[in-house]
């Protein structure tokens, strides 16, 4: 069960100063954020805010300076992420590019791809989304049917992606698509590739899907004979599955997997500061938060060391999702909704509706637990 081992990590030198710097920046910005903006957390899309974050050097922090990065450590980046999420900052316009798309391009992209995309992610000019789920392919992702066929001068893309967060606001998608049939009797995980898709290209139709909160956060994106240039391919043709799954430790272990409801915990603590009867319930939440933070920091340390803690990440995501998902209900148990101060109530109301997504996005609870079970030697 070595895949479930965690080694603690201390914050890096200069952590407190960096934290203070980010906090001061947030203080300048936060007056514009309504409780709903804060409750949206990393699902809040604000391009101006993203540009301001980029100007401070807090996007692509760990990337080489040659591409606009900051050459900082993974643990320093973690500090910025934590501070942003704890405050409920609308980081959605750069979250995916910074967390996944940029690192993928840096690791597997060509020199031309790096030079083209990374500096613009860093400034906030390019916002990325991820094209994985399809109408008939959710947890069984490898059954996806969107395909890119080799044609003269590039690829022709046909198919449909769905549940794409901010597809209508983003500039680029990295889509997992089929580029060749799986070998006879072989795994359907073969023959998939990752493609850079310009969302403004002809043949791309984006249809926002209204969600249960009444907002248009995610989309259905249809590709109808979309022409992709040769260099749309990221990494190796046919190796898309391995490439996509190798990023999962980065995607799943971060503070975005346990801090999504944090602004509500802060508001609740404020409202309940003098209520002695609320102390035990608050204490349990704080203890859980403290433990999750130690676990998430440990995974960041392993990533910094170049390890691939994909199982630990699944485990932290599962525990973290449980925590952030249960929080609104727990706070509702401490104070009647009608008695909540307005900010607390609005955070509560929004989060109550959106928390079911926490254990869906980035891989469902059932998939996470399946990964852990496999590590235990079950299945």
């Amino acid at each position: 069960m070595t895949g479930l081992r965690f080694d603690l990590r201390d914050p890096p030198p200069g952590a407190a100063a960096l934290r203070a710097e980010v906090r001061a920046f947030i203080t300048e910005q936060e007056s514009r954020w309504t409780p709903e903006v804060r409750a949206r957390s990393w699902m809040g899309f604000d391009r101006d805010f993203t540009r301001a974050v980029g100007a401070r050097g807090w996007i692509g922090m760990c990337w080489p300076k040659a591409y606009g990065g900051g050459e900082r450590s993974f643990l320093e980046r973690l500090i910025v992420l934590e501070e942003m999420l704890a405050a409920g900052a609308p980081v959605g316009a750069h979250w995916i590019g910074d967390r996944q798309s940029g690192p993928l391009i840096l690791r597997l992209g060509t020199e031309a791809q790096r030079a083209k995309f990374l500096p613009k992610i860093v400034t906030g000019d390019y916002a990325f989304c991820i094209g994985l789920s399809e109408p008939d392919s959710g947890s069984d992702l490898a059954s996806l049917r969107t395909r890119a066929d080799r044609v003269e001068g590039g690829w022709k893309l046909n198919g449909r992606k769905i549940w794409t967060t901010f597809g209508h606001l983003c500039d680029w998608m990295i889509a997992l698509v089929r580029t060749s049939a799986p070998p006879e009797g072989g795994s359907k995980h073969q023959g998939l590739s990752q493609m850079l898709v310009d969302l403004k290209a002809p043949g791309v139709t984006i249809r926002p899907i209204r969600d249960l909160v009444g907002e248009e956060g995610f989309n259905e994106i249809t590709f109808d004979d979309v022409m992709l240039p040769d260099d749309a391919l990221v990494g190796q043709e046919g190796a898309g599955w391995a490439q996509a799954t190798s990023e999962l430790a980065f995607e799943r272990s971060g503070p975005d997997r346990y801090l999504s409801s944090h602004p509500l915990l802060e508001a609740s603590l404020d409202a309940l500061r003098n209520d002695a009867s609320a102390a035990p319930a608050l204490g349990r939440q704080v203890a859980r938060l403290w433990t999750l933070r130690a676990m998430s920091t440990a995974v960041a340390g392993m990533l910094q060391d170049g390890a691939d803690p994909v199982r630990q990440a699944a485990l932290v995501k599962d525990l973290g999702n449980d925590f952030e998902q249960a929080l609104p209900h727990a706070m509702r148990g401490l104070m009647d909704v009608d008695a909540m101060p307005e900010t607390m109530r609005r955070l509560h109301d929004y989060l109550t509706q959106i928390t079911p997504t926490f254990s869906l996005r980035g891989g469902t609870r059932e998939i996470m637990r399946g990964i852990i079970a496999r590590e235990l030697g079950l299945r």
């Binding site: 952590a15 704890a86 404020d270």
Partner: protein, 336 residues
């Protein structure tokens, strides 16, 4: 890093010694009131009781965090001998300027029940910051047990202490409580690993509907939750121990409390899952599982229950201003 390597080696030594000298029969004997003298001798021979005592006082000079894997290893074997108590008691005595005695040694906060007092040559009692060391003859001992049927004795002082001392500020006036919470959290991590291993083994061998029950997702998902909770306790205990190393035991009360809450909640969840997976077999006296689950339930309550600590942690948070700055201000930066 060297410290962690030593810690892993010590844990390995303890694991081997326990595997050689103890088994389920040992736990049964302990629960019927016997002292596993052979197992104690085997472990005592490793000189581990002084693990936390400074080197210039004859100890190994390890930090709390270094000792956690060792104490987890004890928990994995059901803690048949009170070695964790001896380690904590020796540290407590040394901190109060008292040379830890040879042989069986245990400790408690004054007024609390004392683990294995009836088997100990010496008992350290901490009343606030005052630590007194008593020989067994100076105590009247009324035997009692916890629900793990481990000896938890009520002790009345009838004679003079062998030695007495005062703890420095860094150890504070709640050192016995904090040490108990820390070692029980680490033992819970270990006992959860043992119970999880039993449950996984059972799931992979017990067949129903023509296949091992571990092939069923319903079982897999539950055991995955167990594994996650088990990892959470390990991390929490280690992080609390790290805080005690960095800031002194007294100033790590917040972290130790958080770890004990996490451990207590996880113990309950894990024990319930293990019993669900092992079904009726796990309920039999013959099966090993209950030795672990009953200890898990018992250890939740020693060194402060979830109720006790969550009230204190909640209060600390209520008085600490905004939560996030409060939590992060407790971080210690690593050296460059």
């Amino acid at each position: 890093m060297t410290g962690m390597t030593i810690a892993a080696e010590l844990a390995e030594q303890v694991t081997r010694a326990l595997a050689d000298a103890t088994d389920v029969a040992t736990l049964r004997a302990v629960e019927s009131g016997a002292f596993p003298a052979e197992a104690w001798a085997a472990l005592d021979g490793l000189g581990l009781a002084a693990a936390l005592v400074a080197e210039d006082h004859g100890g190994a000079g390890l930090g709390f965090q270094d000792a956690m894997p060792l104490i987890e290893a004890l928990g994995r074997a059901g803690a048949p001998v009170p070695l964790a108590e001896a380690i904590a008691a020796s540290a407590l005595l040394a901190a109060a300027g008292i040379t830890p005695p040879e042989g069986t040694l245990t400790f408690a906060a004054a007024g609390a029940r004392v683990p294995c007092a009836r088997h100990a040559l010496h008992v350290a009692l901490a009343d606030g910051a005052t630590v007194a060391l008593y020989a067994a003859g100076a105590l009247r001992i009324e035997p009692g047990t916890n629900i793990g049927r481990e000896p938890r004795d009520t002790v009345a002082v009838t004679g003079a202490p062998v030695a007495q001392g005062t703890l420095p500020n860094a150890w504070g006036s709640e050192a016995a409580l904090l040490l108990t919470a820390l070692i029980r959290a680490a033992q819970i991590a270990g006992a959860m690993q043992a119970a999880l291993a039993l449950a996984v083994e059972h799931a992979n061998t017990r067949k129903q509907f023509g296949r091992p029950i571990g092939r069923f997702q319903a079982i897999q998902q539950q055991l995955a939750v167990f594994a996650a909770e088990s990892s959470a306790v390990s991390v929490a205990a280690a992080a609390a121990a790290r805080a005690a190393d960095q800031r002194g035991l007294a100033n790590a009360a917040f972290e130790i409390g958080c770890a004990k809450i996490t451990a207590g909640e996880a113990a309950a969840r894990g024990a319930a899952i293990a019993h669900q997976v092992l079904a009726a077999m796990g309920i039999t006296e013959e099966h090993a599982l209950h030795h672990y689950t009953r200890r898990l339930w018992a250890w939740r309550d020693e060194g402060g229950s979830e109720r006790f600590w969550s009230a204190r942690i909640g209060q600390a948070a209520q008085q600490g201003g905004a939560l996030w700055p409060f939590l992060t201000s407790r971080d210690e930066e690593s050296a460059a």
